[in-house]
Subunit: 390 residues, 2 copies
Amino acid sequence: MKADALASGLPSGSVGVVTPRAFEITQPLTLDCGRTLPQHTLMVETYGTLNAARSNAVLICHALSGDHHAAGVYAEDDRKPGWWDSAIGPGKPIDTRQFFVVALNNLGGCRGSTGPTTINPETGAAWGPDFPIITVRDWVRSQAMLADTLGIACWAAVVGGSLGGMQVMQWAIDCPTRLRHAIVIAAAPRASAQNIAFNEIARQAIISDPDFHDGRYAALGTKPSRGLKLARMLGHITYLSDDAMRARFGRLLRGGGDGRFSFNYEVEFEVESYLRYQGQSFVDRFDANTYLLMTKAIDYFDPARDYNDDLAAAFAQAQAKFLVIAFDADWRFAPSRSREIVNALVVADRDVSYVVIDSPLGHDDFLMPLPEYHAVLHGYLQRVAGAVGA
Amino acid sequence: MKADALASGLPSGSVGVVTPRAFEITQPLTLDCGRTLPQHTLMVETYGTLNAARSNAVLICHALSGDHHAAGVYAEDDRKPGWWDSAIGPGKPIDTRQFFVVALNNLGGCRGSTGPTTINPETGAAWGPDFPIITVRDWVRSQAMLADTLGIACWAAVVGGSLGGMQVMQWAIDCPTRLRHAIVIAAAPRASAQNIAFNEIARQAIISDPDFHDGRYAALGTKPSRGLKLARMLGHITYLSDDAMRARFGRLLRGGGDGRFSFNYEVEFEVESYLRYQGQSFVDRFDANTYLLMTKAIDYFDPARDYNDDLAAAFAQAQAKFLVIAFDADWRFAPSRSREIVNALVVADRDVSYVVIDSPLGHDDFLMPLPEYHAVLHGYLQRVAGAVGA
């Protein structure tokens, strides 16, 4: 793969050209909401090779808008690599020369896995709003079925940032014997009232869009673009710190010009231009029903709830060793939220390493190749590799 | 007034039953945008009595959604006093036994002052979106004309919180001889990129509402309720700190019940209920075009801009003494933003007192009767009263 990548002109750390694959999960999945999916499909990409002992598999859990395309490209001239290409590849922190890396589009997603945009076999039409609301626990159940399908009894590590980190914690609690290491990045042990407030406004923006049609927009050949755009713009506010926004945009006027205000409501400041662009490009690639479902999964995530609101009791179930990483400028899931995780793990007498990274951007930094961050990930995963004989 | 209030059963600190009055400003007002209003109307309430020396007048500048009804009630059985009733009245920090207090609805407002909802005399129809975008400097010009009309050459103090505090700063810079004291509360010397981002999303929520009709909704008998509701919900996120939201709402489920999740998108968490209520009640009392205009006034406010981005040079124009108050949990206009004001005032060799108040709520605390806060306001205003012979 590496030689191919070099020969083709791809960067040397790339996993190269990859192809997603659909896995049919034929085992029935009973969801937290009480409904059962008799079968479901998961879109998956894998990088690297599963060793003979089947001990070197790493699961990547994605965040709100992520998918199975975590690394590599879809063609040699594809300029847009997977969403975590900076961390996954030969010689990168999650080194595909050592690990067999599995990335999937979660159940309920909109990139090919069973979800609102796929066909409900019972009706022959797209699920749309009839698709059930999925929880983080449901995702762990579904991902465990995928592991069964792949013949992976125990992950060397389960890794994820943000909502992905919530899945990692749930894995460690619900399937203690099926992962050796849990790498929880830029996450929180539950959504705060403020997190829920942001999610609720995003949902209301979508639901109140007249083109939402109670979620049946696709059948009517439309989509709630205005609402989804607003939802994404709102999300982006929480992905950057105030300081990062100031450093990046300040009060700069777009296009420079003579520096005079326009006295209208057209885009004027650079930050407005950035948000509108981010919002619009998201509308072109994401489904509104999936967005609703993903935000609700965040709001519902609360592993302590199953243990009398005692997070340490929840973590007492876990057997994995933990690496918890926070970013100091992250105000969506601030370091204080990671400390809640770490404190509960310590109370539960679990093995945990905790790192806070100097962060230029805020929450968004979990996707960035910050040297300090990648050094920590790399160092820890070398320990994992040693433990599993990767 | 006090005896009346007691006799009527109103609280003893109330200014009692008040009546707003419309002031016609017949002097032409040339705005920052270049347009000129030949005349305009301002809705005004006053509390207390102007002394013979005309030296005891205090101007109250309102924030984004405020108006001229700052204190008192409209009828003896009116249960909803003015928005700053806690601070204005006999024996209160802004003591109406000493001061003649003037509160107005700003130009561009929607409570009776000339603005998008009033009639444009040139067309005979409501201004709607044709009303010009107003700046903080324009408000100071308009308020100075009101002072002329009232025969007030120099305010004992100009007082305001949030966007109101921005008006106070602009007063001190633009009309240095017309105020003795400037009381700037929970404000910032300019909007940050994050402040602008929140405002922009609020504006986009309104503008993208299909019922907005380029601002001509009133003529069509409708209004962009969905967008205005979202805008207000978003504002409320910034009025409370994350800790305050946690203390107030936590992850409590509305209505208690059996504690099970509903697995739908109806209101479920208490914080969702709060935001929806705040959003809806705002729609019933506020105009969307005014909301757009107010947020743009915040974004445009930048007194340093007129002085080569040197805030100290701007404040060097001022002759007033300053009291700057910040709230430690305020993240909309955090204490660090107030320190920028204070530092520039010190560099400019102005007289300034700076106080940071322990804050349970965040930005919203500028409206609250916190004992420490009101003690500071009261103490400072006693100094003002002494200086002006009130």
